[in-house]
Symmetry: C2
Subunit: 163 residues, 2 copies
C-alpha cells in the first residue's frame, strides 16, 4: 500500500510537469517557439525536441521498449542548438512530444509495483545491490526535475505580463 | 525498508538540486546576481531570496518549527521583483539561503519514516484521509521541482560558453 502511494506521488509530479509543458507548447505560437528563450540561448523549438528526445530514452531505461524515433537523440541531445543540423518542423516535434509522453503513460500504467523498484537498465546488477535507490521510479524523479528546469526557461517565451 | 528507500530517493533528488543551486550561487559574482536572468525578468538576487523564502516555509509545512525569517516571504514571494520594496544585501541573502537549507537538512534527518508519510500542515485531516499522497514527503517532491525550474533560469546568469 505504501509502495503504491509512493509511485502515485512520483507519477503525479511527473504528470503535473508534463501538463504544464503541454499547456505552454499549446499556447506558444510557432514564431515564438522559433525564438531563443533568452538572448544567445536555446530556441524553444530545440528545447521541445530535446525534452521529447530525452523522454523517448525512458522506454529503454525502464526496459519497456525502444525509442519511437531514435534519430532525435543525435539532433536534440548530442548536438547543441543552432549547430547547423537540420531539425524537424514544429508540428512534427509537437506530435513527437505528444506521442512519446502518451506512450510513456501507457507503459507506466502497465508496470507493476515490484517492477518500479527494480533496477533501471543503466545500472548493473552488482551496483544495484549496493544502490537500490537506482530503480525505475528514480528515473521518473530525475526526469521530472529535468523537465522542470527547462520549463523554467521555456516560460520566458511568453509575453512578460503573462509570466 | 522500502519506505526508507523512498525517503532516500526523494531527499537525494532534493540535495542534488540544492547542491546545483549552491554551486551556482557560489560561482556567480555579485554583479551578475544583480542582473535579470533574461531581459525584463526576475533578477538573480530576487530568485535567491525567493527560493530561500519558499524553503523557509517548509518548516511550518512539515510541522517542525517556524520560519527563520518570516519577513522574507512578503519581500520575495508576495511581492514581485523590482516592486520598490527594499531587499537585503546579496551576502545576507546567501547566508539566509544557507541557514535555511542547513536547518532543513537537520530537520529532515530527525523525521521518522512514519512522520514523512503523515499529512503536511496545509491539508486537513479529513482531506488527508481521501488523499494520503499529500504527506510531508510530497512537499519535498514539489519543492524540488520548484527549485529545478528556477535553477534553469538562474543558469542564464553564467557566461554563455560555460552554460
Amino acid at each position: 500500500m505504501q509502495r503504491e502511494l509512493f509511485i502515485k506521488m512520483v507519477l503525479d509530479a511527473w504528470q503535473t510537469q508534463i501538463k504544464r509543458a503541454d499547456d505552454l507548447f499549446n499556447e506558444l505560437p510557432d514564431d515564438q517557439l522559433m525564438m531563443e528563450v533568452s538572448p544567445g540561448r536555446n530556441r524553444g523549438v530545440y528545447l521541445l525536441g530535446h525534452l521529447a528526445a530525452i523522454h523517448d530514452r525512458i522506454f529503454r531505461l525502464l526496459n519497456v521498449g525502444e525509442e519511437i524515433n531514435p534519430g532525435m537523440y543525435e539532433i536534440f541531445v548530442a548536438s547543441p542548438d543552432k549547430s547547423g543540423v537540420k531539425i524537424p518542423s514544429i508540428s512534427e516535434l509537437k506530435l513527437y512530444w505528444k506521442k512519446v509522453n502518451a506512450k510513456l503513460t501507457e507503459q507506466f500504467n502497465k508496470l507493476s509495483t515490484d517492477e518500479w523498484f527494480q533496477r533501471h537498465t543503466s545500472v548493473s546488477e552488482e551496483d544495484f545491490k549496493k544502490e537500490p535507490h537506482r530503480n525505475k521510479l528514480n528515473i521518473i524523479i530525475t526526469r521530472t526535475n529535468h523537465l522542470a528546469s527547462h520549463w523554467g526557461q521555456l516560460v520566458f517565451l511568453k509575453p512578460k505580463n503573462q509570466e
